[in-house]
Every structure is written in C-alpha cells, then in structure tokens.
C-alpha cells in the first residue's frame, strides 16, 4: 500500500465506501482538495508551536526575564492552554480537509461538506442530471501543482456543484464525461 500524508486523489478505490452507496454503485473517483491547500495551517501551526520557546530564549538572552517573574504554575497553565488551542486549531483544520470529499461513482456525483464541527451536508446528484461540466486552473500554485476547480451544472434542484481545488481537474472532467456517455449509451441500449 502506498502511504501518503495527505492523500487526495483516488481512482477506483475498492476499500472506500460511503453512506448512501447503492449495491451496484462503484466509486470511480474519490477526491479531496489538493494537499497544498494545507500548507498555510501547517506552517502556522509549526510557527505557533515554536513561538513560546523562541520567546523564552529571547526573554532570557535579552535579560528582560519577564517569564521568570510569572509564578511557575501560572506559566505552565498558560502554556498548556496555548498549546491546547493550537492542537484544536490544527486538528479542526485537518478534519475539515479530510472529510470534505468529492465522489464520482458510475451513477452519481456526491459532494460531502463538513462545514464545522457541528454541521455536515451531503449532496448527491445523478450523472443523468449533469448539463455542463467545466474546469479551470487558476494561479501559480494551481499551475505548478496541477490542481483546480471543476464546475458542474445540473438540472437537479441543486443547480451547481463545485469540486474546489481538486488535483488533476482535467482527468476528473474527462472521467465524468466518459461515465455520462457510458450511462447514456447503456440507457439507449436498454430501449432496444
């Protein structure tokens, strides 16, 4: 098994299932936002983690000794709260990235949104309802790391679905169009 810290692009994953998956439904693509979108919070977390150590060193080096004037139990308690808040921030960011997924199956397109710790939304649309699919790659990072947005317009109640910042948007678009064609072909074949 290939290990990746932030896996974001799966083709035909056999070990992944989702809640409303039908018996004959097969996952063709399983996507998350490109791992590069995590760079900001990972960097912020690392900087915040080492900041107190740098502050304490500077405090002693420059002779201010502010830290020494704080009672030890208050200092430990304060640092503990500080680190717990950082852990909460990083964990929440990771979960938000990990559970915001886009699934393309041989029957549907599924968009799972994990907005916050208290709300989630699952939008499922039949491939038959897709009217238009387009993709765009924006900015230096998008071009460099090959990720972008896939816009799907549908005839269903939910008019638009956006696969935001997914890796290889061209492959995603092609695959959805192929699946749609195959489905229409099978539908026509079924009438004869």
């Amino acid at each position: 098994m290939r290990f990746s810290f932030f896996p974001a692009f799966f083709q035909n994953p056999r070990k992944i299932k989702f809640d409303k998956q039908e018996e004959a439904e097969v996952i063709e693509l399983f996507l998350r936002q490109h791992p590069i979108v995590n760079v900001f919070w990972v960097t912020a977390t690392i900087v915040l983690l080492i900041a107190p150590a740098i502050f304490l060193q500077l405090d002693a080096f420059l002779g201010f000794n502010y830290a020494a004037s704080i009672p030890l139990n208050l200092l430990i308690g304060g640092l503990l709260i500080y680190y717990l808040l950082i852990v909460a921030y990083a964990y929440e960011q990771f979960l938000s990235w990990y559970f915001n997924v886009y699934i393309v199956t041989n029957m549907h397109i599924v968009d799972v949104n994990f907005y916050s710790l208290l709300s989630k939304e699952v939008v499922e649309i039949s491939l038959d309802d897709i009217e238009l699919i387009s993709q765009n790659v924006d900015g230096v990072l998008g071009s460099l790391f090959h990720f972008g947005d896939v816009h799907i317009e549908t005839a269903a109640e939910q008019k638009r679905i956006l696969f935001a910042k997914v890796p290889r948007p061209d492959i995603v678009t092609d695959r959805v169009q192929d699946l749609q064609r195959a489905r229409k072909g099978a539908g026509k074949g079924g009438h004869h």
Binding site: K15, I16, K17, F18, D19, P71, N73, L74, I76, G77, L80, I81, L84, V87, A88, Y91, E92, L95, Y98, F99, V101, V112, F114, L117, L118, K120, V122
Partner: protein, 86 residues
C-alpha cells in the same frame, strides 16, 4: 524628624498575599473552566469523527476514531493537571 519610607502603591498591592491569593484563585478557576470547556469540545469532535467515519468509510477511519478518543483522554488529563497545579 521621622523619615517615612516611600513605597510605590503598585508594589504594595502586588506583594499583598491576599491579592496574590485572589489572582491565583481567579486563574485556577479560569484554567479549570477552560479545561472543562475544552473537554466538551473534544467530545463534540469525537462525536463528529464518528458521524463522518460512518458517512465515509475509509481505511484511515479507525485511526481517526482512536485519535479522537485519545484527544478526549488528553483533555481529561489536562483537567486533572490543572487541579494539581494549584
């Protein structure tokens, strides 16, 4: 003539043991409340991770659940630590 020592009122207040006890008490209660709220937050995370791993079943689901349980355990440990700190 009697010389009256000049003492800064700020120093007097900060050195006052009653004031120090009061400040320490406020921090103790504050830390404890933070610990309890944080523990509740980790329980919400645990519930949400359970819900999401049921919605999307991946290979990493078990690991994430274990991590969420550990996280709640850590928060509980922090409450105990806060009680022990003061």
């Amino acid at each position: 003539m009697e010389v009256i020592p000049v003492v800064s009122p700020a120093v007097t207040v900060i050195d006052n043991p009653i004031f120090l006890n009061l400040v320490s008490g406020v921090f103790e209660i504050g830390f404890l409340i933070f610990g309890i709220v944080y523990f509740i937050f980790t329980l919400i995370v645990l519930r949400q991770v359970n819900l999401m791993t049921q919605t999307i079943r991946t290979e990493g689901g078990g690991f994430l659940k274990a991590l969420a349980i550990l996280y709640a355990g850590l928060a509980l440990g922090v409450i105990v630590l806060f009680i022990g700190l003061f």
